[in-house]
C-alpha cells in the first residue's frame, strides 16, 4: 500500500517552509503545496513542476493553418468562378483567413493545454481546506504506511493550524 495523504495547514509562510524542510529531511520530498495566490516557484522547497505547454500552441497553429487552407481552397475549388481572368485560388485572401485560423488553432490548443497540464478537471478535490483561499498554506504529502503519526507530529511541531488525514476508503 502506498500510504495515506496528510495535509498540514499553516498560517504563516515561514511555518510552512519549516514543515517542508522537515519533510525533505525525512525523505518525503514529493509533497504538494496549496496556496491561495501564486508564490515564486521553489519558495517552499517543492519539486519544480515540469510541463510541455509550449508544444500545444505549435501543434494547434499547424492544425489551424491546415484547416484554414483546406476550407479556403476547397471553397474556391467547389465553386470555380473565374473573375477578371485571375486564378481560381486567390492567395492574398487565403492568407488572411489562414492567419486567423492559425492563431485560433494556437490559442484554442494553448487553453486546452493549460487545462490538461494543470491536471484539470478533477472529479474529486482530495485533501483540501477552504482556508487556503484565505491565505493559509496547505502542505499535502503521502505518508508511508504507519508514518501518519510521525508526519502529524512533524506538522504540529512546525505550528500547523490544522492537520487533516485522508479518510480511509471503504
Amino acid at each position: 500500500m502506498a500510504g495515506r495523504s496528510i495535509m498540514g495547514l499553516f498560517k504563516e509562510v515561514d511555518e510552512a517552509v519549516e514543515a517542508a524542510d522537515k519533510l525533505i529531511e525525512n525523505g518525503m520530498d514529493d509533497f504538494e503545496v496549496l496556496t491561495g495566490s501564486p508564490y515564486p516557484e521553489g519558495a517552499f522547497g517543492e519539486k519544480v513542476a515540469n510541463h510541455r505547454l509550449y508544444v500545444w500552441p505549435l501543434v494547434g497553429a499547424a492544425l489551424g493553418f491546415s484547416i484554414a487552407i483546406l476550407v479556403t481552397a476547397g471553397t474556391q475549388l467547389a465553386y470555380p468562378v473565374v473573375t477578371g481572368g485571375k486564378p481560381i485560388l486567390a492567395l492574398p485572401p487565403m492568407f488572411i483567413i489562414a492567419y486567423e485560423g492559425t492563431m485560433l488553432g494556437a490559442i484554442l490548443s494553448t487553453i486546452i493545454g493549460v487545462i490538461f497540464e494543470s491536471r484539470l478537471p478533477r472529479a474529486k478535490m482530495g485533501l483540501y481546506d477552504p482556508r487556503i483561499t484565505e491565505g493559509y498554506i496547505g502542505l499535502v504529502v503521502v505518508a508511508p504506511d504507519g508514518e501518519e503519526e510521525r508526519v502529524d507530529a512533524l506538522f504540529k511541531a512546525a505550528n500547523a493550524a490544522d492537520v487533516k488525514l485522508e479518510p480511509l476508503s471503504a
Binding site: 468562378v81 483567413i97 486567423e100 490559442i107 494553448t110
Partner: protein
C-alpha cells in the same frame, strides 16, 4: 510617494467579492434599468425584422449609417481592452493588476455587441451564416467569395471573440475557486463545477502565470489583424472617396487603442466609485494609464493628420468635395469641430498635468469625451464618404438616422454596461490572485528617512 495600504488575503476576498457575495440593492435597480433599455433595443430590432430594413434611414448612396458607425466604434473599444491587458502582462507592469480583467471583460462585451450590428443591418439576419466558411449555402448557388472582406471580417471577429472569452475564462478559474469556497447552495455547486476542481498547487499556479503571458502574446497579433480587417471593409473599396487609403489599417488600429484605453479608464473610474475600491484602483493607476494614453493619442493624431493631408495632396475634385462636406457643411462641420476637440485638443493637454491624471472625476470625463470624439470620427469617415460616393452631383445623397437606429445605438451602450455589470455580479472583475500576489510581493524598503514600496515603480 505612493500610498499602498497593507492588505491581507481576507481583506482582498472581502472587498473584491462584495459585489458578488453581498450585492447591494441599488445594483439590481441599475441592472433592471439597463435591461429595460436593452429590451427596448431588442424590440426595435424585432420591428426592423418585421418591417424590413426600410425602417432605417438608409437610402442610396448612403447604405451604411449609424449601425455600421457603431459597429466600428465597439470593435475599436474591444480592441484596446485586450491590447492593454496583453501589453501590461508582457511588460510585467506592476500597475496592471486591477486593470487587466476589466479590460478583457470590456473587450468581450464590446465585441459581442459589435458583432450584433451586422445582424441589425441585415434584412434577413438568420442568413448571417452565408458569410461564414462552414455555412456557405452551396445548395442555393450562393457564391462563397473569400476575396470579400465581408468573409474576412466575421472570420477575424469570431476568432478574436472566441479567444478573448476563453482567455478570460481560463484566468478566472482560481478566482472561481475562491467563490466556491465562500458560497453555498446552488451557486456553490455551480462554482465548484466551473472551478474544475482547482486546488491551487504549485503546478497549477505556474501554468496560470505562463498562460497569462503566452495567451497575451498570441492574442496581440489577432488584435492587430482584426481591426486591420475591419479597416479593409472600407479601404479595399476603390469606388468610395476617402476610404481607399493604404494607411487605414494602422490608422484604425491606433484609433481603436485610443478609444479602448479611454474606455478602460472610464470603466475603472466607475468601478472605483460604485464599489469604493480606492485601495485597489488607486490614483497612481489612473496616472500611469493617462501617460500611456498621451502617447497613444499623439500617435493616433499623427495618423489622422497624415490621412487627412494626403487626401488633399492629389487635388482631385471628388476628394475635395468630400473634404468640403466634412469641413464646411452643416452638420458635418459641427461634428468635425466636436470630434477634434473631444478626441484630442481638450483631453490631451489636460492629461499633461499630474493633478488631472490623478483626479478620477476628471479622468472619467476626459475619457468619456475621447469616446464621443472617436464615435464622431467613425461617423465622419463612413457617412460623408458615401454621400459623395458618386462623381456626378445629381447622384449625391444625404442621410438622416431613423428613430429605430437611434434606439439601437443607445441600446448598444446599455448592452455593454449590462454585460459588464452581470459579470461583476457573478465573478470578481479585479483578479483576486493578481491582487494577492501584488500584496505578497510588495515589500517596503527604507530609503533615507522614508519607507517606499520595493516592488513598485517609483515616480
Amino acid at each position: 510617494m505612493q500610498q499602498r495600504p497593507t492588505l491581507t488575503e481576507i481583506d482582498i476576498n472581502r472587498d473584491l467579492l462584495r459585489p458578488t457575495l453581498a450585492t447591494p440593492m441599488w445594483f439590481y435597480g441599475l441592472m433592471m434599468f439597463l435591461f429595460l433599455i436593452v429590451a427596448g433595443a431588442l424590440g426595435a430590432f424585432a420591428w426592423a425584422i418585421n418591417h424590413g430594413t426600410g425602417v432605417y434611414g438608409l437610402n442610396r448612396p448612403v447604405m451604411w449609417g449609424f449601425l455600421l458607425v457603431n459597429f466600428v466604434f465597439w470593435v475599436g473599444i474591444s480592441h484596446a481592452g485586450v491590447m492593454l491587458s496583453a501589453i501590461l502582462r508582457l511588460a510585467n507592469a506592476e500597475w496592471r493588476r486591477p486593470a487587466t480583467r476589466a479590460a478583457e471583460v470590456l473587450t468581450v462585451f464590446a465585441l459581442g455587441t459589435a458583432a450584433l450590428h451586422p445582424l441589425f443591418h441585415l434584412g434577413r439576419p438568420w442568413r448571417i451564416y452565408w458569410s461564414m466558411p462552414p455555412g456557405y449555402d452551396f445548395g442555393r448557388g450562393i457564391w462563397p467569395d473569400i476575396r470579400s472582406p465581408f468573409v474576412w471580417d466575421p472570420t477575424a471577429i469570431s476568432t478574436y471573440l472566441t479567444s478573448t472569452a476563453l482567455f478570460v475564462g481560463l484566468l478566472l478559474i482560481p478566482d472561481i475557486a475562491v467563490l466556491r469556497d465562500r458560497s453555498s447552495g446552488m451557486m456553490q455547486r455551480v462554482y465548484s463545477m466551473m472551478s474544475l476542481g482547482w486546488r491551487g498547487n504549485t503546478r497549477q499556479w505556474k501554468l496560470q502565470i505562463i498562460a497569462g503571458f503566452l495567451l497575451s502574446a498570441l492574442i496581440l497579433p489577432v488584435f492587430v489583424s482584426v481591426h486591420s480587417i475591419v479597416s479593409w471593409d472600407f479601404a479595399v473599396q476603390i469606388a468610395v472617396e476617402g476610404w481607399n487609403a493604404t494607411i487605414f489599417a494602422p490608422y484604425f488600429v491606433i484609433g481603436a487603442v485610443h478609444s479602448g484605453v479611454a474606455g478602460v479608464i472610464t470603466v475603472l473610474a466607475l468601478l472605483r466609485w460604485l464599489f469604493k475600491w480606492e485601495n485597489y484602483i488607486r490614483d497612481d493607476h489612473f496616472d500611469a494609464l493617462a501617460r500611456l494614453l498621451i502617447v497613444v493619442a499623439v500617435g493616433w493624431f499623427y495618423f489622422f493628420v497624415i490621412e487627412f493631408m494626403m487626401g488633399f495632396y492629389p487635388n482631385e475634385e471628388p476628394e475635395l468635395s468630400l473634404r468640403n462636406l466634412q469641413l464646411t457643411e452643416w452638420p458635418f462641420n459641427a461634428a468635425f469641430i466636436v470630434f477634434a476637440l473631444t478626441a484630442f485638443f481638450i483631453p490631451v493637454p489636460l492629461w499633461l498635468f499630474r493633478k488631472v491624471r490623478r483626479n478620477v472625476a476628471l479622468m472619467f470625463w476626459t475619457t468619456v469625451m475621447v469616446n464621443i470624439g472617436m464615435w464622431l470620427e467613425r461617423f465622419l469617415i463612413i457617412v460623408p464618404s458615401l454621400m459623395r460616393k458618386q462623381v456626378l452631383t445629381f447622384n449625391w445623397g444625404s442621410y438622416n438616422p431613423s428613430p429605430i437606429e437611434l434606439i439601437l445605438v443607445g441600446g448598444s451602450f446599455a448592452m455593454v454596461f449590462l454585460g459588464v455589470l452581470t459579470f461583476v455580479k457573478f465573478f470578481p472583475i479585479i483578479p483576486l490572485a493578481d491582487a494577492k500576489e501584488g500584496a505578497i510581493m510588495a515589500t517596503e524598503i527604507r530609503v533615507g528617512k522614508v519607507m517606499v514600496p520595493a516592488a513598485y515603480r517609483e515616480e
